[in-house]
């Protein structure tokens, strides 16, 4: 039965990991916009 929970957990880990990369890319871009606006 641990396989069952492993599969469901794996699904959400993959989705959360992807969303985390989106957040990271977003903050990086925001920082670049700030820098470019300051120039």
């Amino acid at each position: 039965m641990s396989y069952l929970y492993a599969a469901f957990a794996a699904t959400w880990i993959i989705h959360i990991a992807y969303l985390a990369t989106l957040v990271r890319r977003y903050t990086q871009l925001r920082k670049e916009v700030e820098e470019l606006k300051r120039k």
Binding site: L4, A6, I14, H15, Y18
Partner: protein, 229 residues
């Protein structure tokens, strides 16, 4: 428009929770495979979502080839990325399901193997987009997407015939499906479709921002090149 996002977010969360309940509790237990079979609700709904996303990618790529629309290109890259994520889920949950049922992690199951090849094709698509130095990346990527789409039926038939020659265990089972199971599956599919839509929307906004930054950066370098007056 912006207010729709949180509303849709709440709706998606509700659907996903309901779907999880359906999958783990409400749906009847399968006869032969037991509780492990419940992975089916996430495995299949993710697969259908991934295929839908890749289909949208194909349509967007064709539109780009015909009209060179930047929006079409943005949709293409978004659906390819999110499609790969869902495809990864399918490829991870499949073996986790196969192992307790069949004792093996992998099999030349038609659908699983076709999904693997599809995943490979779209990862190569993403790599082309990442490694391309040309200003015409969208065009090259769209061409590759068309090639990939043409390949899909050939992939499926080649593996199907391979499997009929060398019969292997079928992951996911065949045959008819109990109506309560179908209900649980459809709920989960709807939930993941909404979830995919939200992710695509977020990724799309990220893409718009990224293009803005690129635009600003190229203007910046032109400005500096002119002597920064």
């Amino acid at each position: 428009m912006k207010r729709a996002f949180p509303i849709l977010g709440v709706l998606t969360a509700v659907l996903l929770s309901y779907g999880l309940y359906q999958a783990l509790v409400a749906a009847p237990t399968e006869q032969t495979m037991g509780e492990v079979q419940r992975i089916f609700y996430y495995h299949v709904s993710s697969a259908w979502t991934a295929f839908l996303l890749f289909t949208i990618n194909f349509i967007a790529s064709v539109i780009y080839l015909i009209r060179r629309s930047p929006v079409a290109d943005a949709v293409a890259v978004v659906t390819a990325e999110v499609g790969v994520v869902f495809c990864t889920v399918v490829l991870v949950t499949g073996p986790i399901w196969a192992r307790p049922v069949w004792g093996i992690w992998w099999t030349w199951d038609v659908r699983l193997t076709s999904t693997l090849v599809l995943w490979l094709i779209y990862v190569s698509y993403l790599m082309l987009r990442r490694f391309s130095t040309s200003g015409q990346t969208p065009l090259l990527a769209a061409v590759l997407a068309v090639f990939g789409a043409l390949d899909v039926p050939l992939v499926y038939f080649s593996i199907w015939f391979f499997r009929t020659q060398h019969p292997q265990p079928v992951i996911g089972g065949g045959g008819s499906i109990d109506s309560r199971m179908m209900h649980a599956l459809l709920i989960n599919w709807l939930a993941f479709l909404c979830f995919a839509f939200l992710i695509c929307w977020s990724r799309y906004r990220l893409e718009v921002l990224r293009r803005e930054v690129e635009e600003m950066q190229s203007q910046e370098s032109m400005f500096e090149a002119r002597g920064g007056r």
